[in-house]
């Protein structure tokens, strides 16, 4: 990899808007995120619209013959992905709260490995601002 001093860190956002199963989008997004994590960029994830279902607790895929990949989201902290935005309106519209979603944390290297919350609950308006600050937005 190129280790020049002038290496540019860009802000990459991965936007997840679809239900976890039924299409391949959610799993593909997760795989791209894990692969891209190797490139030391400023990464954030968004879960909005039906995408909030990707993080719901107690998923079971026994009857649909697909792998339940929801446990993998809790590895995101290991991959230094610490910014996860959940859109509040999307939860409200589906009768969900943060309680229905799995907790996602990371260990802060600069703070004696203290476990910290990766999830930020944001309004649609706040989310628009965060999106506006990105260099690249991938929509899944």
């Amino acid at each position: 990899m190129d280790n020049d001093d002038d290496q540019v860190v860009k802000k990459f956002m991965y936007m997840n808007r679809k239900a976890p199963y039924g299409t391949i989008y959610a799993l593909e997004s997760l795989e791209v995120v894990l692969i891209a994590a190797a490139f030391d960029q400023d990464v954030s994830l968004v879960f909005a619209d039906d995408g909030v279902y990707q993080l719901t607790n107690s998923q079971s895929t026994d009857d649909i013959g697909m792998k339940n990949f929801s446990p993998t989201y809790s590895a995101l902290g290991d991959y230094d992905i610490k910014k996860i935005y959940i859109e509040k309106e999307s939860l409200d519209e589906r009768g969900l709260t943060l309680e229905d979603l799995q907790a996602l944390t990371y260990e802060d290297e600069d703070d004696d490995w203290a476990e910290k919350d990766s999830i930020h609950l944001v309004s649609r308006e706040e989310l628009a601002e965060v999106i506006d600050q990105q260099d690249v937005v991938f929509s899944f």
């Binding site: 795989e31 894990l34 692969i35 190797a38 993998t72 290991d78």
Partner: protein
Amino acid sequence: MAIEVDGQSYETDEEGYLADLNQWRPELATAMAIADGAPLEEHHWEVINFLREYYEEYQIAPAVRVLTKAIGKKLGKDKGNSKYLYELFPYGPAKQACKYAGLPKPTGCV
């Protein structure tokens, strides 16, 4: 492709990764390592067992960088570096150790 252990045949992909990770047994790791010319010792098993536990919890094989950090935390700083892990698994810790552990090739590993 397939690997034979104790008269039983286990299906693998073209790179030798076990097709069904539920079929994994320690004897398979031993057989794969002997076929590669470097029998497993206790230090190898620490990493292999760690990978299996990681997969059990997160359903993925960790990238090398993640593995290195996690091993350092669990087994001590002297083991959490790529030099140590590459000495144990010269074909690449994630690649080779994952194969022995019966896991799929790590996501993002080429």
